[in-house]
């Protein structure tokens, strides 16, 4: 029926075989089923304008006011299946590659992103996000961690302790993410955990976005004195950085996601340590 279901265990995802896009995420273990779309977009970085000379830079996130540009509307799929893990490989563009992994006994999906080098030959600095869009009535509310600890309630365009004048509708609603963020609509929770510090927000109800990579062309005049435009070179050939990381996605009934966020969060932060040795089993056991 135009959809492809993946996942060898109770946690599954459906993708459109036409557009290649994620359609829904469901867990037969918890009975949660949420229609979700996932996409990559980039904000064009401001280099300053007549009203305000402030440019986006290392300290300052200031998009140029235009809506973020979607990297692609449809994406080719490659599905790899097996008894332990199913993988969905997607090339969103020449510089964005993603592998979604669903393991047999896991309550989440593992999404590995590879982003870069971000092209800047059009003269535009770019701040790349991934956006999850779910049909959830979240009433401007989302939750982000506080330095890896308790998740705190955030309300878009609102601060409890002062009268907020919104001048930056996107950047002004961004929060630092060290552990993760989630949405809740009274019925279900959509949670994301990260393996590194990122920025994140919910710019529209039911939507969750995290910023994964930035490459900028202007200095923000806050002291660093350089544009955020690091390169890496092999011999004399230099290119912008490529970032590779993982974020983790889970769905739970409302009020039940904390258990996963706390335990999986610890396991992401403290992974198993692997050490290899060339020995035969017999020699190893003898010693």
């Amino acid at each position: 029926n135009g959809t492809i279901e993946v996942g060898p265990g109770p946690f599954k995802m459906s993708f459109s075989s036409v557009s290649g896009q994620l359609i829904r995420v469901f867990s037969s273990k918890t009975g949660t089923d949420i229609p979700i779309q996932q996409s990559y977009l980039w904000y064009g970085s401001s280099t300053g304008d007549a009203a305000d000379a402030q440019a986006s830079g290392a300290y300052i996130f200031r998009p140029n006011g235009a809506p973020p540009t979607a990297v692609s509307r449809s994406v080719p799929l490659k599905i790899i299946r097996g008894p332990l893990v199913d993988e969905v490989h997607q090339q969103f563009s020449s510089w964005i590659y993603q592998i979604t992994r669903l393991y047999k006994d896991k309550d989440h999906a593992e999404i590995e992103f590879t982003i870069g080098p971000i092209p800047t030959d059009d003269g535009v600095g770019k701040e790349v996000i991934t956006r999850l869009t779910a049909n959830m009535a979240t009433n401007k509310i989302f939750y982000t961690d506080s330095n890896g600890r308790d998740f705190l309630k955030r309300v878009r365009d609102y601060r409890e302790d002062w009268n907020l004048q919104v001048t930056q509708p996107v950047a002004g609603n961004y929060y630092p993410i060290n552990l993760g963020m989630y949405l809740e609509d009274g019925k279900s929770e959509l949670s994301v955990l990260v393996d590194r510090a990122v920025g994140g927000s919910s710019i529209q109800d039911g939507e969750l976005e995290i910023m994964l990579h930035r490459r900028l062309l202007a200095d923000d005049s806050r002291g660093v004195g350089e544009a955020l435009d690091e390169t890496v070179c092999v011999k004399d050939a230099c290119q912008g950085l490529t970032t590779r990381g993982i974020y983790y996605l889970s769905v739970n009934p409302s009020g039940n996601g904390a258990q996963w966020r706390r335990t999986a969060g610890q396991e992401i932060y403290s992974p198993l340590l692997l050490a290899f040795s060339h020995q035969t089993e017999e020699v190893w056991k003898a010693s």
Partner: protein
């Protein structure tokens, strides 16, 4: 042998410019270099500690086991597992730094599709081979040369995936050896090759 230089590098990296990424490039390079150097030294300490921990000789005066770790596993660079001549058997020791028992999935890059995995009791466990994707091989080729200054040898062909369990604040051993096919041939092997589909 100490972890002091990693501690020092971590200390320097608490500067607000290091935490937020607002240092000048040459300063960022210095933070990275110190962290890398400290991490390499700490790795030697951890390898020695593991060798003592897993040895029946508790005096641990001259550990008999040499361990290596793979810090570029995310781009599929792991010399001990890629080497086709890794001999009769490769020993993998896993340490769990958390206070609860864990099961997890391990992925290591390999060149051989005739491998099987056994647990510490010698029982074959289920494993799956996944073909390495081009994005990872390209990343590996570029960054191994950029970071290590060496031309990467031929890429590994597969990820070998298997499930492990490790006790709280403890360790477990797994053995990876040749001689059993991914098609399930070989006595007791539970190795599987993934199937691939590319919908139009």
């Amino acid at each position: 042998l100490s972890t002091t230089s990693l501690g020092d590098a971590m200390g320097l990296a608490q500067h607000h410019d290091a935490v937020s990424g607002t240092a000048k490039q040459h300063t960022t390079n210095d933070y990275a270099k110190r962290l890398s150097s400290g991490s390499s030294k700490a790795e030697i300490v951890v390898n020695l500690a593991l060798s003592c921990l897993t040895s029946s000789n508790k005096q641990c005066a001259s550990p008999s086991t040499n361990f290596t770790q793979c810090n570029l596993l995310n781009i599929s660079y792991c010399p001990p597992t890629e080497d086709e001549s890794f001999g009769e058997s490769l020993v993998l020791v896993l340490y769990n730094p958390l206070g609860w028992a864990r099961t997890d999935f391990i992925r290591i890059p390999v060149n051989d599709d005739q491998l099987s995995v056994r647990d510490s009791g010698g029982n074959f466990i289920e494993s799956q081979l996944v073909e390495l994707d081009n994005a990872t091989s390209n990343l590996r080729k570029f960054y191994v040369e950029a970071y290590l200054g060496i031309s990467s040898k031929e890429k590994p062909k597969y990820w070998l995936v298997f499930q492990v369990s490790v006790p709280p604040l403890g360790w477990n051993t797994y053995f990876i050896s040749k001689g059993a096919g991914a098609d399930g041939t070989g006595t007791g092997s539970k190795s599987h090759m993934s199937t691939t589909a590319t919908p139009e």
